[in-house]
């Protein structure tokens, strides 16, 4: 019975032209347009170096390795990352205030990065510092357990990591990629289309078909489960097709950690379905109306995550952090971004968990409506 429903739901969804258009064809068109627009924009325009200040205090002077690192990243070359000024704390503050620099670094007992707002430049600075710490802690560990190692190529290691920064940053830091991240986020939420559809066609008070299946001897949750499973299979396949299109046709670089990308988009697809479920089940508006609501909400989330204007993402993150922390598109964008720019998965998992919580909350609220089996009116 379960498979009977599942297989037929697959058939129905695969044949619903308008749903497939919105969830697959439309995003591909959008991605292609993005790509066209941005390839014009980036060609010729080389990556800008980041204006940085370092507070030239005693602590900094003592932190030899860090000093070397910053210097090597600030060397005038093809791969220059920072345009660094070594200044006093007061001067650094003024520079930041006047937006002359993206941020400054001050070494106290720890190395601190001070920034005014969030952005790619700012994250790059942070990631350099994070990276440095990681290497340092590796060195410390090695030196504690095996002091010999210090002599053998610790500095080499540091150098390696220096060139690593060059790799990650200079060649690949590309603000345009973030636009594609929000596009992926948006597509995940379009999974809601199938969520809307699944509940409408199960609830007796939302459609005639719902009434028909409700009088059958199939338990409602079995029906819903089979429908959701079909919805997710179809939608996630679409997401995979789209990721393939971005990676292999448009050659968008999504980093080299493909498994986490797949997990994140899968959870994103669940989040989309859950959002659609709530929009579908919580009111008696027409199916078209519900689809419009879903698309509007998705667009809004995408906009707030920086889809049209990248700056919005950072303004939201700074001024209304709550909004960034409930926005599923932002979780997806930020998760992809963190996979790309950070070496640790902490921030990535924060986003995955954020999405799971979002999904759970959507499903829980939907459950209040779904658990009804008799209605006051049909």
């Amino acid at each position: 019975m379960f498979w009977h429903i599942f297989i037929n739901r697959l058939k129905i969804l695969l044949r619903s032209k308008s749903a497939i258009f919105w969830t697959l064809v439309f995003p591909i068109i959008l991605a292609t347009l993005f790509n066209l627009a941005f390839s014009n924009l980036t060609s010729g325009e080389y990556f800008e170096t980041i204006d940085l200040a370092v507070v030239n205090n005693d602590n900094f002077k003592v932190e030899e390795n860090f000093k070397d690192l910053i210097q090597s990243l600030s060397e005038d070359s093809e791969e220059q990352l920072f345009n660094t000024q070594y200044v006093s704390l007061e001067k650094a503050k003024t520079l930041l205030q006047d937006d002359e620099i993206s941020g400054y670094i001050i070494v106290n007992d720890k190395i601190n990065v001070v920034i005014k707002n969030n952005g790619i430049n700012q994250s790059t600075i942070k990631s350099v510092v994070d990276n440095y710490y990681q290497v340092v802690s590796v060195i410390n560990n090695i030196s504690k357990s095996n002091p010999e190692a210090i002599r053998n190529g610790v500095l080499e290691k540091l150098n390696e990591s220096t060139s690593n920064f060059n790799d990650v940053s200079n060649e690949n830091v590309d603000p345009i990629v973030v636009y594609f991240y929000t596009l992926i986020g948006m597509i995940c939420l379009y999974g809601g289309t199938f969520g809307v559809n699944a509940v409408i066609e199960t609830e007796a008070n939302l459609s005639k078909k719902g009434a028909r299946v409700s009088v059958s001897p199939v338990h409602k949750f079995k029906l819903l489960l089979a429908s959701f499973l079909a919805a997710i299979v179809i939608h996630y396949s679409e997401v995979l097709i789209l990721l393939g299109y971005l990676l292999f046709i448009l050659k968008i670089d999504l980093g080299n950690q493909i498994l986490p990308v797949l997990l994140l988009t899968f959870v994103g697809s669940l989040a989309g379905t859950s959002l659609g479920t709530l929009i579908g089940v919580s009111n008696k508006k027409s199916e078209n109306m519900k689809m419009s609501i879903l698309i509007s909400v998705t667009m809004l989330f995408s906009f707030l995550a920086g889809m049209m204007v990248l700056q919005i993402k950072y303004i939201i993150a700074n001024k209304i952090p709550v909004l960034a922390n409930i926005n599923p598109v932002n979780f997806i964008t930020d998760g992809l971004y963190s996979l790309y720019y950070y070496n640790t998965l902490d921030r990535y998992f924060y986003n995955v968990i954020g999405l799971l919580v979002f999904t759970l909350v959507m499903f829980l609220i939907s459950y209040i409506f779904i658990r009804r089996k008799k209605y006051d009116s049909l």
């Binding site: 019975m1 009977h4 429903i5 037929n8 058939k11 129905i12 969804l13 044949r15 619903s16 007796a204 459609s207 005639k208 078909k209 009434a211 028909r212 299946v213 409700s214 009088v215 059958s216 001897p217 199939v218 338990h219 089996k373 008799k374 209605y375 006051d376 009116s377 049909l378």
Partner: protein
Amino acid sequence: MKNIIEVKKLTKHYKDFKALDNLSFEVKEGEILGLLGPNGSGKSTTINCILSLLNFDKGSIKILGQEMTPDAYDIKSKIGVVFQDVAVFDELTVYENINYFCGLYVNDKKIRQQYISDAIDLVGLKEFERFYPKQLSGGLLRRLNIACGIAHKPSIIILDEPTVAVDPQSRNNILEGIKQLNKNGATIVYTTHYMEEVEILCDRIIILDKGKIVASGTSKELKELVSIEEKITVELESFNDKFLEELKGSKNIGEVIYNDNILFVTYKKGKHNLKDLIDFMQVNKIKYNKIFSELPTLNDVFLELTGKELRD
């Protein structure tokens, strides 16, 4: 005979609007029960309450002796429902639609195939098996809707106005099909606002108006409720007011209407009314072209009980 469905003192409000008012009736094993009522009389509401889709304020509903609830799956598996509105998947073909709905009741594939082909034969959609609903005419779509509701061979079948806006050919096909299902042993509840249909089809009729039962019984029993014996229509060459007054004064006369050479007379209970009228015309040398007599219809029953026409 066993009661298959028992509705007791059913009352249902939509907000402040009382849609069903203390409704009680039962459906007996093997019968075709007609629920006849004008638009908005509460037919669909009654059915949706019986099916446990709607909350109601008071009353009880038992099916096969058991309280009907949304979780009464063993009861649900024995019921087939054809809702008033067509509910099929545009993405599935005729065959696939019937298969999908039938599969919610019948697990075994072999048996299901047989059932589907029986249903397709019953509604006469064999040539259209591979068609999508969008390619079907209104009448054929209704037939598909019925096939989807009854393919699993339920022992109780509930149909809510299955012939609304259907061409005569499809209507006949549908009515024949329902008779067939009943012959095969199904108990049937049939709602409609077409009195001709209940007369042809139903063993027993319940007349609903404004959420209340105004009368029930066989078609014959219902007709005995009215005071009219027969209605006689005469096509005349000429007529005058003197005759009209005289006729109105004759015995057994209910209503007399004269308009454009057509005389329309209703007679109350009594014998040889037609003969009396013909005698009256002969005595007065009134010439006529045609004369015919009709028995009262359910519409007359409804008119007399509620003061309004069944169909507006």
